[in-house]
């Protein structure tokens, strides 16, 4: 029979971290594809001499800007959680994850506020369809981030304090999401 040298089980190779990175690559492609459609139709509409954004509907730029700004503390808190977890500081890790989740909920709330105050029907036309598709997917990704934060907190605070990889993967999720949302913010809310 065949004889190969054997070895003890190798140290974990950041499986969750890599998996999260791959999911983020897919999420980025999803939002990127939607933004490409948004810009394509925007360009065609403007070239035809028509107005792209319906004039009867205005959304709150304050809320949109707050969403962008809130991602900065989210990233800081997520990194704080990583820093604390590496030092086995459960209290600060819990606090950092809690604040991340709270800010994430505030982010979701701001998007809901924009939907409620704009009150734009989906059936208005191409703009509204693409607006809701882009911002809806972005919102869904933010909700996934909040759920991820909750899972991370439950796992870590539930006693699996050696499982620091999930805390790192969680932080990476928010970094990547922040980059994605910054582009969404610029294209949908600033460029319009």
């Amino acid at each position: 029979m065949l004889a190969l040298p054997t070895a003890p089980a190798p140290a974990p190779r950041r499986q969750l971290f890599v998996g999260t990175a791959l999911v983020l690559a897919g999420a980025t492609a999803l939002v990127g594809g939607l933004l490409a459609l948004f810009l394509r139709f925007r360009s065609a509409t403007i070239d035809a001499g028509e107005s792209w954004m319906p004039e009867d509907y205005k959304f709150s730029m304050v809320a949109a800007n707050v969403m962008l700004i809130s991602l900065l503390p989210i990233c800081i808190f997520a990194q704080w959680a990583v820093y604390s977890a590496k030092r086995d500081d459960r209290t600060h890790t819990g606090l950092a994850l809690g604040l991340t989740g709270l800010m994430g909920l505030a982010f979701v709330n701001a998007q809901a506020f924009i939907y409620a105050t704009t009150a734009m029907p989906i059936a208005l036309g191409t703009y509204s369809v693409l607006f809701y598709a882009v911002t809806g997917v972005s919102l869904a990704l933010a909700i996934v981030g909040v759920v991820f934060c909750g899972v991370t907190a439950f796992r870590y605070l539930g006693g699996r304090t050696t499982d620091r990889e999930i805390v790192s993967a969680h932080a990476m999720y928010w970094y990547a999401y922040s980059a994605v949302f910054a582009v969404v913010w610029f294209v949908v809310y600033v460029t319009k």
């Binding site: 190969l4 054997t6 492609a29 999803l30 594809g33 459609l37 693409l130």
Partner: protein, 546 residues
């Protein structure tokens, strides 16, 4: 050094009746999840090829319709969606899920529950999508609610496959055996990694487009995104080439794997073949642009800058994948000069790679405006070459790796003629469609069959086109016969055939270092890998090229 003769307990006993069903439904064993994918897509293949045959039969007589005209649009949708997302993609992903963790020496796949969830999401989504098309939904259906349901369920099915793909790619990147760096991964594993990474870019874009057209369809307005036509227009890229070529990338890895095994030598040049397989992945640009990339008709009359603006994207989207496919085939085939032994999987691998190159070449030609092929059945011919290449690769892969899944093997001499038959059928199904395209037979990814309606495909043609359609019908029939015969042979062999032995093909990679069938956790011990062909290192008689 440890002798690998463990014959550790094979897969956990499944029990009987409901317990067995529950075991399969809740399993997180990658080999079982992979077999679920393979089994479901094999069943779907029979149905989809029957539909393909019906449509080919319908087109043998251009002046009348044998099938109810109102059902043709739906049948074309089932044909396209079914063969692409219910047969080709899940078959390849299922085989990869069975084999890749074994090849990289891992005890399990990464995120096994994600892989299992992915299978069930794909399964439910696919069944719902097919049912919704049959209920007058689908891309060109008349029932609004079922059209909406089709888009949602298609998105769910694709999302499910993506979940499994994440699991696969993570396994390759993180669970390789000690010493197995990326240059030492097996051929098939490398090709699966390329496929996985490209699908992670391409398929989310398709899901996004399905979401947009769903919203526009569900909430109708004057938007150009509303209405059925938008579905075909914006989601079309996901159902044709070169996107479908991405699904077939593992066929090149499988071919290389079989050449190395059959010749009992190290296949070289390793880096160049890896690069060639990677080059096929540049087809992902097609998804990024979400529209056909063409060289406009009247190209010679265009200005210099206009020519460049046509040629550059065309080269990226169509020429590079073709070049990669051709190089992967040609460089791998170089290994055949070392007189391979009789190996059924090798024949299947060669046939699949040949058809893939045919499909890639046809795809490049189709997108040249001056060839005058756009809107014809030429596209269908190239797509069929790719889809049937995937089916043939799947048949070969099951014959090759079947011992690791079932502990028994399919007899080589019985399965070899079926491979030849399937290849002949695939060529006969696809090539006449391409020729009919030169004769301007109208086609389309999701054609609307509405006599007298402007813009709809009329299927009014005459002359030799009827002959080409008849030949294509014969091709589908031959493929169907070969698939059915293969399934019967495989089921009988895997259930009652001879025990295969742990290394029946004199393999080179780690999957052949464990028992047949592989135990639940694949390996009794983790192996250290010191070359790309760890088992070949242990077989001095085979080291003539070492």
């Amino acid at each position: 050094m440890t002798t690998i003769d463990t014959h550790a307990t094979s897969a956990a006993p499944s029990g009987a009746g409901l317990a067995s069903v529950a075991d399969w439904v809740t399993t997180t064993d990658h080999k079982k999840i992979g077999r679920l994918y393979i089994g479901a897509s094999a069943l779907a293949a029979i149905g989809a090829i029957v539909v393909a045959g019906l449509l080919a039969f319908e087109r043998t007589d251009a002046t009348g319709t044998a099938l109810p005209i109102e059902s043709l649009t739906q049948l074309f949708s089932i044909y396209r969606f079914g063969l692409t997302y219910v047969v080709l993609l899940p078959l390849i992903v299922g085989i990869a899920l069975c084999v890749v963790p074994l090849q990289v020496g891992a005890r399990s796949v990464a995120f096994p529950r994600l892989a299992a969830t992915g299978f069930w999401a794909w399964f439910v989504g696919s069944v719902t999508a097919i049912v919704s098309i049959a209920a007058n939904g689908g891309p060109n259906g008349g029932n609004t609610r079922f059209v909406d349901l089709f888009m949602l369920s298609a998105a769910v099915a694709i999302l499910g496959v993506l979940a499994t793909v994440v699991s696969l790619a993570t396994s390759i990147l993180t669970t390789r055996a000690p010493g197995m760096n990326m240059r030492r991964v097996p051929w098939f594993t490398w090709s699966v990694l390329v496929m996985s990474l490209t699908l992670l870019v391409a398929l989310p874009i398709l899901i996004g487009d399905l979401l947009v057209v769903y919203l526009a369809h569900k909430y109708p307005s004057t938007s150009e995104l509303s209405g059925n036509r938008a579905i075909g227009e914006w989601a079309e890229f996901g159902f044709t080439q070169p996107t479908t070529l991405l699904f077939l990338i593992p066929a090149f890895g499988f071919f290389a794997e079989t050449v190395a095994t059959a010749t009992r030598r190290r296949l070289t040049p390793r880096g160049t073949i890896f690069a060639a397989v990677g080059l096929v992945g540049t087809a992902v640009y097609a998804a990024a642009v979400q529209a056909p990339v063409i060289i406009r008709a009247g190209f010679s009359g265009l200005s210099g800058s206009a020519k460049v603006s046509d040629l550059l994207p065309f080269a990226f989207v169509h020429v590079l994948p073709l070049l990669g496919a051709f190089l992967a085939l040609a460089l791998t085939a170089q290994g055949l000069k070392h007189k391979p032994g009789l190996n059924a999987a090798l024949a299947f691998g060669l046939f699949a790679a040949l058809l893939a190159v045919l499909g890639a070449a046809g795809n490049a030609l189709y997108h040249i405006g001056d060839a005058g092929l756009m809107g014809t059945t030429f596209e269908e011919g190239t797509w069929l070459a790719v889809v049937y290449a995937g089916v043939i690769a799947g048949m070969g892969a099951v014959a090759h790796w079947g011992p690791k899944l079932w502990g028994r093997s399919v007899p080589t001499k019985a399965v070899l003629p079926l491979g030849l038959l399937a290849f002949a059928g695939a060529a006969l199904a696809s090539l006449p469609m391409m020729i009919a395209g030169f004769a301007d037979q109208p086609g389309g990814v999701f054609p609307v069959i509405e006599p007298g309606v402007p813009g709809a495909v009329q299927f009014e043609y005459s002359g030799p086109s009827e002959l080409w359609n008849f030949l294509s019908l014969a091709g589908h029939a031959i493929v169907l016969v070969s698939v059915l015969a293969y399934l019967a042979l495989a089921i009988r062999s895997f259930a009652k055939g001879d025990a295969a032995g742990d290394d029946p093909w004199d393999g080179q990679t780690l999957e052949w270092a464990t028992t047949s069938p592989a135990p639940e956790h694949n390996f009794a011990q983790l192996h250290v890998v010191q070359s790309p062909e760890p088992l070949l290192d242990l077989k001095p008689s085979n080291r003539s090229d070492a």
